[in-house]
Amino acid sequence: MAAETIRLSIFRYDPESGEQPRMQAFEVPLLRRGMKLLDALHHIKWEIDGTLSFRRSCGEGVCGSDGMNINGVNGLACITPVQGLRQPIHIRPLPGMHVLRDLVVDMDHFFAQYRSIEPWLQNDEPVPEHERLQTPEERARLDGQYECILCACCTTSCPSWWWNGDRFLGPAALLQANRWIVDSRDTSKGRRLDRLEDAYRLYRCHQIMNCMEACPKELNPTAAIDNIKREILNRKS
């Protein structure tokens, strides 16, 4: 294969240096057809500059560790092919987050918001002898909800969350909230809706739809948020 190179420009920040963040240029050979952006980051870390820091784990879009901003749009490096990306490929940490180092951001607040929606099945009825059954239709309502991997690509793409992230829960937490609201086995729907009905927690969503554009699993958090709003409306009327 001809020695084709890929040019990258990567956000660097070293908290120990006391310097401001900067963009650093790198060149990486095109290692193979179908090469992913994570392969390029690995090549830099292993062959060029071992200090480059980023999170990754499974490397195939399941764990949600390597969410980052790629040429201005959030996505997972491990499932983004380098071919087809405009060069130099600008790689930055997830937007609107406190940077720990390079592409590694502080996820504490994001996960605290996830915890706040109580992401587990709540059912106060007696435990049946076997499973809690659902009809195929009830199960189908979970499609497009349960696949979320909490990579934070959606939440950190949302301008409402950038500006009101302290109070607005953001698309990921709200999609997860909807996942339990639409679950026929969950009996806490009313209480869940009570807790979400708030000018900030839920209603800061202004249909910007960046979450839908950013989601690497092709889910639609905007639609999930709208469903929560309709559920709240339905119980009032």
Partner: protein, 126 residues
């Protein structure tokens, strides 16, 4: 961790995020809404001028026909058209009728292109 949250830099956000049609459509909705709010006192001022005596009527006509007056009228018309069209789009989304990913994208494009065509028509008429 030795560094407190306050010391850590915030990663760049609006300045680097790539604009897509739905984001532009949402922002334009806020901006056109602000223009419409601002146009209410202006409209009352026009109304007062046009319903006063003959001199004030002539003066207001001059204001409205001046290049600045035409620009303002054109922008208010455009804001009204856009806010109405995209507002209907938002109502559809709220009602759950445009909730697939392609529908959200295509509807944003349709609204934005329609506003552009409308702006050209208004620009031609004024």
């Amino acid at each position: 961790m030795s560094h407190s949250r306050a010391e850590r830099p915030l990663s760049p956000r609006l300045s680097i995020y790539r604009w897509r049609a739905p984001m532009l459509a949402s922002l334009a909705h806020r901006v056109s809404g602000l223009v419409l709010v601002a146009s209410v006192p202006m409209y009352l001022w026009f109304l007062e001028g046009l319903t006063g005596d003959e001199a004030s009527f002539r003066h207001m006509l001059q204001v409205l026909h001046s290049p600045g007056g035409r620009l303002v009228l054109g922008l208010v018309c455009l804001a009204w058209f856009y806010h109405l069209l995209n507002g209907i789009r938002f109502l559809f989304v709220d009602a759950g009728w445009l909730e697939t990913r392609p529908a959200m994208r295509v509807s944003a494009r349709i609204v934005l292109w329609s506003a552009l065509v409308f702006a050209l028509v208004i620009g031609g008429l004024l």
